[in-house]
Point group: C2
Amino acid sequence: MPYKQLDQDSVIEYIKSVPEMKQVFSSFDNLNVSEIGDGNLNFVYNVTNNEKPKETVIVKQAVPFLRIVGESWPLPKERMNFEIMALQHAAKYCPALVPEIYHASHEMCLIIMQNLTDHKVIRGEIIQGKYFPRLAEDTSTYMAENLFHTTDWFLDHKTKKELVGKFINVDLCKITEDFVFTNPYEKSDTNSFNPELTQENIDFIQKDSELKLAVAEMKYKFMNNAEALLHGDLHIGSIMANEDETYVIDPEFAFFGPIGFDIGAFIGNLIMAYFSHEHRQKLLGNEPYQYRKWLLDTVEATWELFEQKFDKLWADHQEKENLPYWQYEGGKEAAAEQRKRFIRKIFSDTVGFAACKMMRRILGLAKVADIADIEDLKERARIERMTLKMGKQMVINRDSYSSIQELTALAKELSPLV
Amino acid sequence: MPYKQLDQDSVIEYIKSVPEMKQVFSSFDNLNVSEIGDGNLNFVYNVTNNEKPKETVIVKQAVPFLRIVGESWPLPKERMNFEIMALQHAAKYCPALVPEIYHASHEMCLIIMQNLTDHKVIRGEIIQGKYFPRLAEDTSTYMAENLFHTTDWFLDHKTKKELVGKFINVDLCKITEDFVFTNPYEKSDTNSFNPELTQENIDFIQKDSELKLAVAEMKYKFMNNAEALLHGDLHIGSIMANEDETYVIDPEFAFFGPIGFDIGAFIGNLIMAYFSHEHRQKLLGNEPYQYRKWLLDTVEATWELFEQKFDKLWADHQEKENLPYWQYEGGKEAAAEQRKRFIRKIFSDTVGFAACKMMRRILGLAKVADIADIEDLKERARIERMTLKMGKQMVINRDSYSSIQELTALAKELSPLV
């Protein structure tokens, strides 16, 4: 079927034409369609059987332009292919942590998938102070499973290289290159600031050579290290969850990049949430301690669980492979040392990428509601300044943190956990 | 034209069918064909007009197997595409340093190019103690031009990524992964040794954990850092030269990899030549000093000229681009610091890769004639041991050399320049 942009009516016709939909819907006679896209990139339809509301799917279609701007900003609709391929890949290693795919069409740049009716995007929930007891456990599993199983440690040389080629994601990588690693650190029309930030606050980032050299190194790493298949945009707006389940969604930025980028995105977002709740918990009428402690505990647990799980997957694989390379007296210990050094390097990258993800949310185009929606602009600026300060220290000193606790200690130094 | 394996007769028919050949040959009536392939991978024909010997071309065709073994070892003939693309790419930036391409056919996996009648493959010549006064100058130009112009520092994000995809060279990278980074460092049927090497000499490499961790890191870097378009096999058997001109040939291993790999291949080969001439110069009846000094001078000059040229290309490009990112007080100095740090990292990689290229030539399948053809096996083993010793120190300590002179000093420590 050649590409055609669907609307509220034609989406029903399309649903009817897809054989797999007969497994989901007992009848097509009374389907309700509502467009629920957040409006940035794609059209997202919720299609539900009015008579049996449990019969429901999400239809997500890419259009050949940036939806938020309109047809004047072309963006290849083929970006949906990356989301399809990445979801299919994740379904192999952690099916419980990604929405089930019912149907995908590369021609139509469209995917029909499980409607997560009992789950919410966690950013909004975290802003409200909701706890997600499984967040560290599930996110670390998602990352360890997806990342390990797409490295050269696991894949054979041919499969890996062919996947790297299939996942060359020019346009969406460019968005990250510009909006995470470039524009926020320079004078750029795409930036926007809280007016309560001073020029000095901005220069603190944009005119500091050590910081800029460090950010440029992270950008180079992002562009040149095809280590593993990343989600590519793993902030807390890409996770839907409730108390019992966690789903990672929207992997359209997927490509082969440095492992630390995904982990850093997630951890950086939690640190910003921690800062924001210095203010928000008071607004909510709570003592800030408990929720903010949970946020930092989640940062620590995410890294520690990721580290354990990645190492375990790799160690088990090493044992199964039993490579001749490590078959000598002391070889087993050396193989363990290899894992240790490699994970140490992932940690440095994680800290560096988390820092870039934090600073860009203050000075760049795309904000996080956690901080940007704070109405008291002076209070918001205070939190923005601590975010910038932490980001700067992190990216410059990324190789010198020896544990995740040193990172959370820095957060507590800037914003005491009381 | 669909693929067909050419032979001595059909190569003439093919030549006649190629329009461009009318520019080379004034007549097709008296062509002489001789097969001159070294027998490893491809068929290489020298086609010359008997009446006018200056009318001559090289026809190189890949066959769908490893020629040295036969049809039982399949190797995709499409590998020739990488050579074609790499030669065409190099012709853009250093046309004087690669053979001119007259005709290339992706279907026939074939290239017709300039016959370098006045030039010889330099390995054999260096074994004979010949000087190549332009070697450092030209090789450093070849590397700086080709490498710089395929990095993200020069190419736009889209061109770079698309080129990375086009140059995914699964099969030939696998040869390097196995024979440069794996088999020589483990018990492997593909290895072969000088019988005068002791088990202790072999264990010195194969059972040393620090060395093996370092080699594994270099292998990972080779497989995961798509920095620039490499030649991929830049040893002194891939260079043809005379006193006035230098040509780099045979880039069929081309792919996007770490910059230091090409430089390391070349420098590692010269260091082995230096060691071999401790013995060879005496055989040739010379005082060893002068020629061996030239070899080490060439090592030093190659790195220093590469460093200067790469930095100059980049600095000029930075000035032309004048990125907003560096537009602030101190930004120009920071951009210079970026170049310095980056080149420092290339140097570490160069040392590490040179080391792997050296050690594998002693313990692995493919030898270098410089050392392996030394008839006195005890003398050969002595030189092999110094090569292994130097390689081991280099790869383990690759981050701690601060100049190329420290590297040549190490060579002189192991084999005094007297």
